[in-house]
Each structure stands twice: as C-alpha cells, then as structure tokens.
Amino acid sequence: MVAAWKKSVPHVILLLYVAAILYPFVFVIFSSLKVSNQSIASNPWGFPFDLKFENYITTWVEAKINVYFINSFYLATSAAIIGVLLAAAMAFAITRMKFGKLSSVLTQLVLVGLLIPGNALFISQYILVKDLHILNTHWALFFPYVAGAIPTSVLLIAAFMRSIPRDLEEAAIMDGLNAVGLFFKIVFPLTVPALVTVFIINFLGNWNEFLLANFFLNKDILRTLPVGMVGFRDTYQTNYAQVCAGIVYSVLPVLIIYAILQEKIIEGLTAGSVKG
C-alpha cells in the first residue's frame, strides 16, 4: 500500500506539470470556438457547446492568415532546403576532399558563427539588406536565414560525413566515379538521415523567426505567420475567439511535424550537447 502510494507521487507531480503545459492549448482551442468574449469570460474552463467554426473561416480569410501561412511555408521550406544542400556540399568538400589546411581554415571560419548571437547582427543586416535593395522583399529574409543556418548545419553534417568509411569511397573511385559523382551517388544518399534532421531544425527556426521578419518587411502581403499574428492580435484585440483561431493555425503545422518526427527533432536539437 505504502509502496504503491510512493510510486504514484512522481506521476502526480509530473501530470500537474504536463497539465500546465497542455492546458493553455486546450483553453485556446475551446476559446477559438466560442461566440464572443462574453462566452469566454462566463465559461473560461468549459467546453464550447455553441461551437462556432465560422471563427476559423473568418480568421483564415479576413485576417489574411492564409496569406501569412503561405508566405511562412514557402520561405521556411525553400530556405531550409537550399541551406541543407549548400551545407552538405561544403561539408563534403571539407571532410572528404584532400585540401586539409584550407578545409580547417574554413571550418574555423564557420565555427566563429556559433559564437555570435544572431540578434547582435540585426542592425548591420538591416543596413546590408537595405543597401542591396532587397528590403521589403522575401529575399531580405531568405538570405539571412540560409546564411545564419550554415554554421550549425555544416558542423552537424560534417560530423556525420566523417563517420562514412573510406573504403566505400575508394571502391567508388575505382569504379570510375569523379568527386561530383561521389558526392551525389554515394555520400549524399548515405547522409540523408542527418540531412533530414538538419532540415527540420532549420525549417522550425525559419518558421518561428520573428525579429527579422518583423522589421525587414513592412508590406502586409509579404508578412510571415508569427508577425502577421502579432499584428492581428493588436488590431482584433476585441475578438479573442478569432485571435485564438489564429493561434491554432500557427501552432498546428509545427505540432503535426512534431508529432510525426518528435524522436528525430529531440535527437537533433540535443545532439552534441549531452557529452558536457
């Protein structure tokens, strides 16, 4: 009896913590289906019995969540794909090709990027983007996203590529493959698991990015979801049900990706830091 009680104490505490994580989401989903602020206020905890799905339609169309969603989606995806491809090519060159000195210089150069907090470059990047006349275009986010992801991507992919056995390479070269063929036909396919992890990390980072997206674009039709949502909250502060529907839209894709790939995401984001 005592033993059973002792065993359940950790679960009680952990479930309380989990409730503190999950309840805000439940609250948002319930609220997003309610008719008005009044019905949220009179019944904050409860299930919305007068389900108002129109909130989702109104938010999607009138609040232009559809526009923000598409902007975020294609920007986050394209920047992550290009970033992974460039990083993979560079990682291949510095780990598998025979330019030892040069490669270690380039590795050091990329390592510096890990030390610099991205925010510190905010003003200089703003000025650069302005001088290049790409302010207020999606390029203003695309390039900094790709460039900012290069340090971690190159280092993670390079670590993975180093573990590919040399014999494989030698055999392929014997069979007449050149360096380019070696990369595309042998090394790249073998590296796919690492590339997927890096892609997801970069995608999530781009999808969630706020600072640059908020200040480098001021045309509403170009805005990404995190920025669009803040603007939406500020204008529609009177209708919390719709703001909640907006929150659901912006959280949903990330949660779906997480649900499918959570093992990989956790592994990727914690890689390298556990050894202490």
Binding site: L14, L121, I150, C244
Partner: protein, 293 residues
C-alpha cells in the same frame, strides 16, 4: 584516387556558394557591426567616427542600465528558479517507467513553438478581464490583476512565460544525461539502503554536473539574447519596465534610427555574454574534476 579528391574546381564549386552567402550575410555584418559601433550614424548622414562615445552614452543612460538589470534578472531567474526545477523534473521522469515517453514528448513541446505565438497565447492568459489566470484567481475572490501593464507584475509575467517555453528543452538535455549513466552505481546504493532522494542527491546529481554546467551556460547565453518574447508581450513597457538589452537596441534602431548607438549596444550585449560565460567557466566549471565512470 588522390587526384579525384584533389580537384580544385570541384572543391570550390562545392564550398563557394555556402561560404559566399555566409561571408556576405554573416561575416560582413559582423565586421560592420564592430565598425558602426564606434560611429555616430543615423543611416542618412555619412557616419562620423566617435570612438567610445556610444558606449559611454549607453552606460550613462538609465533606460539602458535598467535593461541590463532586467537581463541579470533573467539570468538569476533561470539559474536559481528554473535550473533546480529542471533537475527536479528530469530526475522524476528518469525515475518512472510508465508514461516516460509521454512526459518526454509533452514537456518538450513548447520549445518548438514560435516565441511570438507563445507570447500571444500568454498575453491572452494574462488578459485582465477574460484571461485564464484572473478567472482562476477570481474563484478565490482575487480582484483582476493587470499582469502585463502593471510595473509590479510585468517582468515576472514575462519571466514565467519564458520559463514555460524553455524548461522542457533543458529537461530533455538533463534527462538524456541521466539515462546514459551506468545503472550499477544506483543499484549498488539501493542495495546499501539509500533512499531515492539520497541516491538522487549524492549519486545522480554529482554525476551529471557537467551537463548541469552546460545548461547554466546555455541559460546565461539565452538570457542575454532574449528579445522576441519581450517585444511581443510588452514591447518593453510599461514605461521601459520590461526592456532588455536586445529590445532596447532594436527599438533604438527602428524607432529613432540611431544605428551607430544601437550597434554599440549590440557589441555590449556580445561582450557581456562573453564575459559572463567566461567568468562562469573560470569560477565554476573548471573547478569540477572530470568525473570518470
């Protein structure tokens, strides 16, 4: 064999796109940042070299000193409130067998969400009239509190949201370290009659000190960088109460166009972060002997 992998054209073809982008959008801004910080520049007039003036001006500015204080509060809050809780929850999760995967998945969830959406979600929870928190306190007869617009509660409210977002990430880091420890030590101690709490305090925690150290370092670095959550939840308000260094920098540059001054603050943020993590390494991390097991 060697010739194939010593092809200079291919090497540069593979390296150049990444290096060029990185150089232009990362290294170059780094260099210009160090330069602009020493100039008086508003983006229109040609810049004028002013030496350390910007730094002196910043450190004499009450608003900025207040922002530094807030960054320190972020650091203290994460080191003395969050880290103990992180260790506590990681120990609890490592101790249970059932539902472990469920706990792992759920506690990590907030860390993958956009800071700005979390900021919006929590400003709704803090909403004075219909927000979850005041509704809950109302059950006990507490009058509505204006969490984000009252100077007494604004910073605490942001701190709690920030903790809610990031704790799970660190719990998973610590948990991974705990689970990779060899089981024998704990089992031996159990046979010797040590209770669960004793085993946690005298065996597990000392063994995972290296990762705790990493978590503290990451928390310090994170607390120096914090900005999105402040911009979204309070925009530094009420009256600069919740401003942190980075939000002060962003608002200086975007609202008053003081690029030179703003960049100097970027440099200060970076220098403070380096000094703090360096000091931490020197004072605490070095002292720990390397633990072999």
């Amino acid at each position: 064999m060697n010739d194939t992998l010593r092809n200079g054209y291919v090497y540069w073809m593979f390296v150049l796109p990444a290096v060029a982008l990185y150089a232009l959008f990362f290294m170059y801004p780094m260099i210009t940042t160090t330069y602009y910080g020493f100039t008086d520049w508003n983006g229109l007039m040609p810049e004028k070299f002013v030496g350390l003036d910007n730094f002196v001006q910043a450190l004499q500015n009450d608003m900025f000193v207040h922002a530094i204080r807030n960054n320190l509060i972020f650091i203290l809050f994460s080191v003395f409130v969050q880290v103990p809780l992180i260790i506590f929850f990681a120990l609890l999760i490592s101790g249970v067998k059932r539902l472990r995967r469920f706990y792992k998945t759920t506690v990590f969830m907030p860390s993958i969400l956009s800071t700005s959406v979390i900021g919006i979600l929590w400003s709704f929870i803090y909403e004075p009239e219909i927000g979850l928190l005041n509704q809950f306190l109302g059950l006990f007869g507490v009058e509505p509190i204006y969490w984000l617009s009252d100077t007494k509660t604004a910073l605490l409210s942001v701190l709690i949201t920030n903790g809610w977002q990031w704790m799970g990430f660190y719990i998973i880091l610590v948990l991974a370290a705990i689970l990779s420890l060899p089981k024998e030590l704990n089992e031996a101690a159990e046979i010797d009659g040590a209770t669960g709490i004793q085993r946690a305090l005298y065996i597990t925690v000392p063994l995972i000190m290296p990762i705790i150290s990493v978590v503290i370092m990451l928390s310090i670095a994170g607390a120096m960088r914090v900005v999105d959550i402040v911009l979204v939840m309070t925009n530094g308000g009420p009256a600069g109460e919740t401003d942190v260094m980075a939000s002060y920098m962003v608002l200086q540059a975007t609202q008053t166009g003081q690029y030179g001054y703003g960049t100097a603050i970027a440099i200060l943020i970076f220098v403070f972060a380096l000094v703090l993590t360096g000091l931490y390494q020197l004072l605490f991390a070095r002292k720990q002997e390397r633990i072999e097991y």
